[in-house]
Subunit: 341 residues, 2 copies
DNA sequence: CTGTTAGCGCTTTCAA
DNA sequence: TTGAAAGCGCTAACAG
């Protein structure tokens, strides 16, 4: 297996076709100024040898690029981010490019290493869901002519293109909807306030309460759940409170899913009925939300489109006419779907 | 932004440190035979210039490799595959390598293009969830010394390492469990029989029925659903049957989720109760399975471990002592969890 | 229309 | 311990 570990080169193709390497190169680059019959011979040799141009060798030549886009994501196993990655891949593939994917696990150190590695591999650009607020590594990338697009989260002080969701607006509308449904004790489950989306969604939530003159009860607010299990535990605590919430705002799918799991578990004891549990508002739609035992509403958006948009911002800057444009900040709208169940 | 689009080279670092490029190279490769104080100067210059070794240039030198692993997946947005990808990424990163990710959308043509592109980028190896039974492009990769690991699905006639799940055994045990629970009319929702997993899971299902002397009613078998929506429609058809099944075996998460969505929709009309719907057996666990309105059991396994195993098979062949080993076929066990809900 | 030369960034000789 | 030369695979630029 893999005994004959040989990768043919231009020279060998040239020899086999009885031409010079340049003729091979020209043929493979469109065949300009190469006689048709010669092209035939070259292509035949290519096929026979199973030749593939060495893109790495090509990319070191002046003017050529690697055709690689570095993508750093915090958690590829989260459906939100994997769908995002799909969008990026699709759009980037249309431009004949490929993605180098790295998972940061919300770890800035890892993100920094990853970016360094990507630069070493001469990526044409970077699409990053930043794990924190550190931006030196990204500014550094830009300073070397490798543009950066931030997705889902922005970083203060970094002049880079970005696509994010209408976090504040969505959270605000979702919370208002809960209030309009008569709730005054509303819990909050979210990711850390130190994270861009966490901060903005929390702000939208708080703003809605203030507008409606509902006092914020900090005992009903939990903001450091990154995983479903953590969210579940936080939900358990909320439900144990002396005066538990009648509705819970969940700032992302991890938290909404954790909340539902906890409700489901408690329901299965049979001690209480579904009506005894708070209804849910989830920022992020997710599969099977409609199976919720309690009423659930969703602040919906399209992570795939988020990925496509991020890719387009980058490609425009690379190939299009946005090369020297000022940083563009896009905010994708979200839509509120009340009573998914 | 990106005005000063300059990537420093060894030469510039060398100049700045007052040494030759070779000394820089040596320093960066561990510093063997370079005086400590000279190393200091070099590293200082590297830091000041923000230099990153050009991996593409390095990789064209004899003996050097790209450190890239090509990963071709059928649908990265499917949580099963995205978790698989996470496992691959993690394991590969431990070996200092990076993944080039491509989505095939179950399209063999796209897969072939992708593999060609990967070879052009001089990947060290390939991890593929094959979209079909075509193997020429993969055999070709092997013939050029680029090993291939098949994941989740094998290809007849291709001598390559592989990790798959115990599809037949899992489906068999799941079906037997349904029969033991008293079911004799069991529906089947699956992906195409022409797909490796589809064929094997279907076979396990059929085998169980045969063993227990239950006749196979082909009107209860639907095997071409690739998406949740298709699965939903197929489920609707099953439920409309004159003599509908009392249990449905779902060969993967797409089909199980589609089935549950359909049940959920029909329940919401209030015309029938949960007891009127078949119980579910799902090959693949998935988030919120426990919210199912009908009893559900799960044939569980670990896609992340599948990814890790695929990566390890490949790395062993690249770096380890499996370089010339015969193809290794691993089958990961699955576990049956009856009555998740 | 085709080939020769030169050099991209790097590192393995080989010499000092 | 350091450097000079040479060449990896490829393709602009310049002949012819």
């Amino acid at each position: 297996m893999g005994e004959r570990a040989h990768r043919p080169t231009v020279k060998e193709v040239a020899q086999r076709a009885g031409v010079s390497p340049m003729t091979v190169s020209r043929t493979l680059s469109g065949g300009l100024n190469v006689k048709p019959d010669v092209q035939q011979r070259v292509l035949a040799a290519v096929a026979e040898l199973g030749y593939h141009r060495n893109e790495n060798a090509r990319s070191i030549r002046p003017g050529h690029s690697s055709g690689l886009i570095g993508v750093a994501i915090t958690n590829i196993a989260n459906p939100y981010y994997s769908t995002f990655a799909l969008g990026v891949e699709e759009e980037v593939a249309l431009a004949g490019r490929r993605i180098l994917l790295g998972n940061t696990s919300e770890d800035v150190t890892r993100e920094t290493e990853l970016v360094g590695d990507f630069l070493g591999r001469r990526v044409d650009g970077l699409i990053v869901v930043p794990a924190g607020t550190a931006s030196d590594h990204l500014a550094h990338s830009q300073s070397q002519g490798v543009p950066v697009v931030l997705a889902s989260r922005r970083i203060d002080g970094l002049a880079a293109d970005s696509v994010v969701l209408a976090d504040d607006d969505g959270a605000h509308r979702g919370t208002i909807a809960l209030i309009d449904r008569g709730h005054t004790r509303i819990g909050y489950l979210g990711n850390s306030i130190s994270i861009f989306t966490g901060e903005r969604r929390h702000a939208g939530f708080v703003r809605a309460l203030e507008e409606r003159g509902i006092p914020l009860d900090s005992r009903l607010v939990a903001t450091d759940q990154q995983t479903v299990d953590q969210a579940r535990e936080a939900m358990r605590a909320l439900l144990r409170a002396k005066n538990p919430p009648t509705a819970v705002f969940c700032a992302n799918n991890r938290n909404a899913i954790g909340a539902l799991k906890e409700i489901s578990t408690q329901l299965s004891t049979g001690l209480r009925g579904a009506a005894d549990f708070p209804e849910i508002m989830s920022f992020d739609d997710f599969e099977l939300a409609e199976l919720s035992p309690v009423p659930i509403s969703v602040i919906d958006h399209d992570p795939r489109e988020l990925g496509r948009t991020a890719a387009r911002l980058l490609l425009d800057r690379l190939d299009g006419d946005a090369r020297d444009a000022a940083p563009r900040a896009i905010e994708l709208p979200v839509s509120l779907r009340v009573g998914v169940r």
